[in-house]
Symmetry: C2
């Protein structure tokens, strides 16, 4: 019943992109994402490429480039993301909707194991196919604000980039 690291990192990255957009920073760089989640940068890059090819994110190349969500967070279903990276949600192929395969049991209609696993698969799919990135982002932000935890990617939380930008604007004005 494992979620692979690929899927885990993909979801973390999407959630971060969702949060950042919500806070007015639509584009994040791989290095930022990797740093925040402490992920190997090259591996994350690969995953983001996969997400781009599937239409979840879009990229801006060159200096000041980065990744952004390619569609509204409300239209990104988390189940679909996991299916993309990890394959079917179902514990065994004979109860998969997206990748059904007959199993070796003589009579599916009277297979106890199958009935059980169908329940499990439906329970998983009910959660994952209903929840959208927008929901997760919203809940996360609400919780953080309620608990007065500093929100990541916020404009007002100054990072190195902000300092640089500030210095630039000052020097150009002088």
């Amino acid at each position: 019943m494992n979620l692979s690291k690929r899927s885990e990192y993909a979801l973390r990255a999407l959630i971060d992109l969702g949060i950042a957009r919500e806070l007015g920073r639509p584009i994040l760089q791989v290095s930022e994402l990797a740093a925040k989640e402490k992920l190997p940068i090259k591996f994350l890059e690969q995953i983001l490429t996969q997400l781009r090819q599937a239409g979840y994110v879009e990229t801006k190349r060159g200096k000041l480039g980065g990744y952004a969500l390619a569609k509204p967070a409300a239209r990104i279903k988390l189940g679909a993301v996991i299916r993309l990276l990890d394959g079917p949600l179902a514990p065994i192929a004979c109860v998969s909707q997206s990748a059904y395969e007959r199993c070796t049991c003589p009579d599916e209609a009277h297979c106890g194991l199958r009935m059980l696993m169908l329940d499990v698969r439906n329970a998983i799919a009910r959660i994952l196919d209903r929840s959208t990135l927008a929901q997760i982002v919203e809940i996360t932000l609400r919780k953080m604000r309620r608990d007065k935890v500093p929100v990541p990617f916020a404009r007002h939380s100054f990072g190195l980039n902000d300092l640089v930008r500030l210095a630039d604007s000052k020097s150009s004005r002088s």
Copy 2:
């Protein structure tokens, strides 16, 4: 979200043993189990050994030996069997009850991914930790009888063993 073959075969075997006991045949041989489910016999043997060590089945060695459930089917929780063979039910370690491990995210309490996966883990556990072998066996048998499908391991479905026994009893009477 995969169930390994190990777990799958273990559950199939347990269900078969449960059905067989219900029909008055408490002991089955590996060869019978393997034949019915079309599983590699040596692999199944390994799995049954594991089930024995964990106290789910007991064995009778020697001629006419075989495997039987070691406790009432109502006391065998399917979640526990899967945990034994496949490890924790949770998709990621930071939401596992049985094998919790901290993950790399800075703040678990405000991790969106964690909230989602906690939901998934609970949904899975709710099903698997509540359902017992007895339930599965009962449902399976009821369905089979309702649909008039021949029930496996039944005494009245004559196999080689029955013929032998019949021949024996006849010759002893004559």
